[in-house]
């Protein structure tokens, strides 16, 4: 395996062991999706109306919950120094970590979403659009999140500053994603929204490794 795949595989393994990984992001997502109806009330029409928005926000939050340790664990125990000295450029390191994060959260959340949509009484077509929008949009969450995680790397309690930094940047993802679902519910085409989402996601994944690498480098110099 090349260094890139080695790192990716290790991050997935770490996520899977001891309290991380897909299963847990899923549980969190499912729990939020359950709590909201408990709070909002059982009106099925109301629920299906807000389903797209709530599930999108839930997915972003679920992904966020495991983001703050993306680089921090490696920083605190000295692994990050060793990774920085390896033949793998820091940009590729960031990309591997984004990919691992997406696989263990975003991808899993996407797969679970149709089931949760069922709880919200969402019709099949909007459900499909929700699924697609999550598939296209969640990589952007991991990518933008990686920037935030690398900036807050050296903060012991970065847990709360991270959302403050990245959530405003993620507003377009939520708008385009949930907007596409709303569009089909109102009888419009979702293509515009999904297209914009894809463009945002692509740009985020391509550019964020550079920003993340720069701020990791910065934090190593301490």
């Amino acid at each position: 395996m090349s260094p890139f795949w080695t790192l990716l595989a290790r991050d997935l393994k770490l996520a899977a062991r001891s309290g991380g990984g897909a299963a847990l992001a899923l549980s969190f997502f499912a729990l939020v999706a359950t709590l909201v109806p408990l709070g909002v009330g059982a009106d099925l029409k109301l629920l299906s109306r807000i389903a797209g928005g709530i599930l999108w926000v839930g997915a972003v939050l679920a992904a966020l919950l495991s983001l703050d340790r993306l680089f921090q664990g490696d920083f605190e125990d000295g692994s990050l120094e060793l990774i920085a000295l390896s033949p793998l450029p820091l940009e590729m390191t960031a990309l591997a970590k984004i990919a691992a994060h997406w696989l263990s959260t975003g991808a899993a959340l996407t797969l679970l979403s149709p089931l949760l949509a069922l709880l919200f009484n969402l019709a099949p077509y909007p459900t499909l659009v929700l699924f697609l929008s999550l598939l296209i949009g969640t990589p952007a969450v991991s990518a933008v999140g990686a920037i935030g995680a690398s900036l807050t790397l050296s903060l012991k309690r970065g847990g709360l500053i991270l959302p403050l930094i990245i959530l405003p940047l993620l507003a377009p993802v939520v708008i385009f994603g949930a907007g596409a679902v709303a569009a089909v519910m109102d009888g419009f085409s979702p293509n515009g929204g999904l297209g914009l989402l894809a463009a945002f996601s692509l740009a985020a994944v391509l550019l964020s490794p550079f920003a993340a690498a720069a701020s990791v480098r910065l934090n190593l110099g301490s």
């Binding site: 260094p3 393994k13 120094e81 060793l82």
Partner: protein
């Protein structure tokens, strides 16, 4: 193969404090340099500078490989074998997994015999969370060997090790120098080999 490492008039400032200034030295292939000094003198800072994590406040570091020389930090990093204050181990991974990971990351073969060499043969399948302080340090040593780098930067290589462990380190260092490698080690004890020393 590295032929020499030269530091020219290095200065290091942490916060508003100057730790050292006008520090120059030269280490050639096969040599070891012991960096000595009181707690807080700047040994770790110097090593981090040599590894390229910190940039010097003044001066430069030149690495000569064969006849080509360069002062690029990233390029130098690719030659560095690092043993820092932190061991870079994950509690969730077993000893063997940890070693295989670093071998893969450095694109080098994972030689299982190394574990026996550092005395961790019996712990190969134990998750790192269960290792004692000295066993962690031994695993870090194994990782250093597996990475096959020629410029060793060691921060207190004897820390946490028992007598046998300390002898092992001395022996590994002697072998590394014998094979033409360079060692720069921060330490409070004698290295136990014929070496230059630098007082901070």
């Amino acid at each position: 193969m590295i032929s020499s490492l030269t530091a020219e008039k290095l200065a290091c400032a942490r916060g508003e404090r100057k730790l050292f200034e006008q520090l120059s030295f030269r280490v050639t292939a096969g040599q070891a340099l012991a960096v000595e000094g009181a707690n807080g003198a700047g040994k770790t800072s110097l090593l981090r500078m040599l590894a390229g994590f910190l940039s010097p406040a003044a001066g430069r570091i030149v690495l000569k490989i064969g006849d080509a020389q360069s002062d690029d930090a990233e390029e130098r990093g690719r030659q560095v074998g690092w043993l820092g204050h932190h061991d870079g181990l994950k509690p969730q991974l077993t000893v063997r997994e940890q070693l295989t990971f670093y071998a893969g990351l450095y694109a080098k073969p994972a030689d299982a015999a190394v574990l026996d060499q550092v005395g961790l043969g019996r712990q190969a399948d134990l998750p790192c969370r269960y290792l004692s302080a000295g066993q962690k340090r031994r695993l870090a040593l194994a990782r250093l060997l597996v990475s096959q780098r020629s410029l060793w930067l060691l921060d207190e290589p004897f820390a946490a090790l028992d007598t046998a462990g300390q002898q092992l380190v001395a022996q590994l260092m002697a072998r590394h120098c014998g094979a033409g490698g360079i060692i720069i080690a921060a330490t409070h004890e004698p290295l136990g080999l014929s070496n230059e020393s630098l007082k901070l």
